[in-house]
């Protein structure tokens, strides 16, 4: 898919529905991006971690994620987060014995500041041969 279009935006009041809804939407868009199954699983795992950890760092009462699927890639932009929330979310995603899962799975990871808020950008892609 080479067309660039507006992202899909998901906004969920921080609570028990963030995980089920976000993982389904991310899984759907990762599948549409034609990511292989392993990378699709990675994208869903990142979604689960964002759902579990982001509520502690959001700037308001909602977890907001903008999603864009591309040519064998999916981009997630999480925020607005509180100042320092981008790094804190990444650190919170560390699993004992495994390390930082988001850092390990992402092809690109970036924190953008905007006023008093931050946005965490995560890109997962697949560059291998079929």
């Amino acid at each position: 898919m080479n067309r660039v279009e507006d992202p899909t935006r998901v906004s969920i009041v921080a609570g028990p529905l963030v995980g089920p809804v976000l993982r389904r939407v991310v899984g759907m868009l990762a599948a549409r991006a034609d990511l292989p199954l392993d990378r699709l699983d990675d994208a869903v795992l990142v979604a689960d971690l964002v759902a579990a950890r982001a509520p502690a760092h959001v700037a308001q009462s909602t977890v907001d994620v903008a999603l864009q699927s591309g040519d064998r890639s999916i981009d997630l932009c999480v925020g607005p987060l509180r100042r320092g929330g981008g790094r804190a979310l990444i650190v919170d995603a560390a699993v004992p014995g495994v390390g930082n899962v988001i850092e390990q799975l992402a092809d690109e990871l970036d924190i953008e500041s905007e006023g008093n808020h931050e946005f965490l950008h995560v890109r997962l892609s697949y560059n291998g041969a079929d």
Binding site: D6, T8, R9, V10, S11, I12, V13, G15, P20, Q60
Partner: protein, 150 residues
């Protein structure tokens, strides 16, 4: 997110929360909405038959937006879901032409009658300055549906 979402989220006895999905109004994105509703239905333990009704009604509403709201430009499809204790409210909105008969209509035109049959109540909010806003409400148990049939 509407201000009411924040107050509702903190209300005792209402552990669930509002969900807003904003997507490019394209046919393939209707499937994203359907999948999201399926996930939501599982999470809040809606009976499968009610999930089916919600998905079908919302699909019809989203299809209306995709087909008719933006004839000359791209635009967005906005879906808000509000789970409440006894009902589920779903709002499907656009900022395009709004609802109305389509000059190129070739189908049977079952969209709104189907939504009316599936939802426990629905309303077309015409107060928005542009576009359309369809508000559907579904009881979370079948009891209301049976009572209505009687």
């Amino acid at each position: 997110m509407a201000p009411s979402a924040h107050t509702r989220a903190g209300r005792p006895g209402a552990p669930e929360s509002d969900i807003r999905l904003t997507l490019p109004a394209r046919p393939e994105n209707i499937a994203v909405v359907r999948h999201m509703l399926g996930a939501l239905g599982q999470a809040i333990e809606l009976p499968p038959a009610i999930v089916d009704d919600v998905r079908l009604a919302v699909t019809e509403a989203c299809t209306n937006v995709v087909r008719h709201a933006y004839p000359d430009r791209s635009g967005t499809l906005d879906v808000v879901v509000r789970p409440e204790e006894e009902r589920l409210e779903v709002v499907v909105a656009d900022s395009g032409k709004g609802m109305g008969p389509s000059p190129d209509r070739r189908g049977p035109g079952l969209g709104l009658p189907l939504i009316a049959a599936l939802a426990d109540s629905f309303d077309i909010d015409e107060s928005v300055s542009s576009g359309s806003r369809l508000v559907m409400s579904f009881a979370r148990t079948r009891r209301g549906r049976v009572m209505r049939a009687l």
